[in-house]
Amino acid sequence: MKRYSGFSLFANALSYHEKWQKVWRKPVPKKEYDVIIIGGGGHGLATAYYLAKMHGITNVAVIEKGYLGGGNTARNTTIIRSNYLWDEAAQLYELSLKLWEGLSQELNYNVMFSQRGVLNLGHTLQDMRDIERRVNANRLNGIDGEVVSPQRIKEIAPLINTSPNSRYPILGASWQPRGGTARHDAVAWGYARGADALGVDMIQQTEVTGIRRKDGAVVGVETTHGFIGARKVACVTAGNSGVVAAMAGLRLPVESRPLQALVSEPVKPCLDTVVMSNAVHGYVSQSDKGDLVIGAGVDSYNGYGQRGSFHVIEHTVQAICELFPAFSRVQMNRQWGGVVDTCPDACPIISKTSVEGLYFNCGWGTGGFKATPGSGFVFADTVANDRPHPLAKAFTVDRFNSGALIDEHGAAGVAH
């Protein structure tokens, strides 16, 4: 892999930028791999990268039915934070945030990670009690955070309406300065480039149609381009996890629902942080391009259509216009949906399964993007060593039978 640098940019300018190395190869699938990862989104690519980088397992293929990073990685609102309530979740998301902080250097790829801070607004007394509890829990876990007043919120985001006369007045917020946003595509591309350089094969336009097993252990996957053998298969297929699990005769406690987002036309810089609100349900940030990136909620019912219900997005736009009256004059540019796999306790499943050599990393629901690096890191470790990474121990699928749920509906309540 040729490194990107100021010098390489200058050198390639001399050949009119026509001789850049391809970012990843287009390999012909081998007959067999040590590990096959199903799903070439951010989490799958991060898993492949850390398998090769941290565990020296380079005979790996990522099998993707569409193109790399074309699913939920391309559809989220790119918000990154780690202010989760419970120790298990907080530590997992904080590991992720720490990895984000060094990711551009690590991958030699600019993921445009911008620590512009995240505000989670409170509109009721109970909101504020929950926020205080969560911020205290965060600080005990070494995660930055503070409870801020409406005056301070106004200083951070001057366009916000903090009038006590509004329909849902803002009483305060939690503020995580280390939170922020990143360029979603760049994360997938950066991990793919890094993994490719370490020998991982990216196999695109190939859909897994079956998981072949023998004596209770996995032996490979059937694909639209034939059978590919594997000693281990790691599934990272987000909204389609239930479908892939069924191929191996497994059931997962996830339900797939579309989560929507929209962007406005590009406007001049007016919001240099991320604002989220559980109570009125909306979240907004401004991309480097200038468009307001607005996220809505999940549909209340199961669905695999990548669009979502109209009234959900209508509700969110109403909330955003209530919070930012100035935005009522901004025109919408486009809207889309991604299918997320929601878990009963709003926490992911990072787990071995009853099939030997088959692993699942799913159930991230509405908040998986922020966890991309950490998810890949602990999942790679889990797959490589055939036991849960210490930080993934609490996230096995067994918790739905033991009852040891990690209820993060409070911190994950706003879909993000």
Binding site: L252, G303, H311
Partner: protein, 96 residues
């Protein structure tokens, strides 16, 4: 926007009048005292999540305030039938 037929009101109404009740036809355990952890977990948390035909409960919240069942395709969002709780669906496969 789904247009859902309520078999109680005998009318098709917009989805905002309804709320979703999740998978239909889940039998409450008859002998809850003697369930294993697996059976309890299965009853509480493990749901069918098909990419296709799904039998699900809906509640007509701003109408008759009664539950009924719907057969819907989760991929195309086509609603194939509405039927009363306690009755069996007519449609169980795509294309039937």
């Amino acid at each position: 926007m789904l247009l859902i037929y309520c078999p109680h009101c005998l009318e098709s109404r917009e989805e905002e009048e309804f709320s979703y009740g999740g998978e239909a036809h889940i039998a409450r355990p008859l002998d809850p005292e003697n369930l294993s952890d697996e059976q309890w977990g299965d009853y509480l948390f493990f749901r069918k999540n098909p990419r296709g035909i799904h039998h699900e409960m809906w509640y007509h919240a701003t109408g008759c305030r009664r539950y009924f069942n719907v057969t819907r395709n989760t991929l195309t969002y086509e609603i194939l039938e509405s039927y009363l709780v306690g009755t069996k669906p007519q449609i169980t496969e795509v294309g039937v």
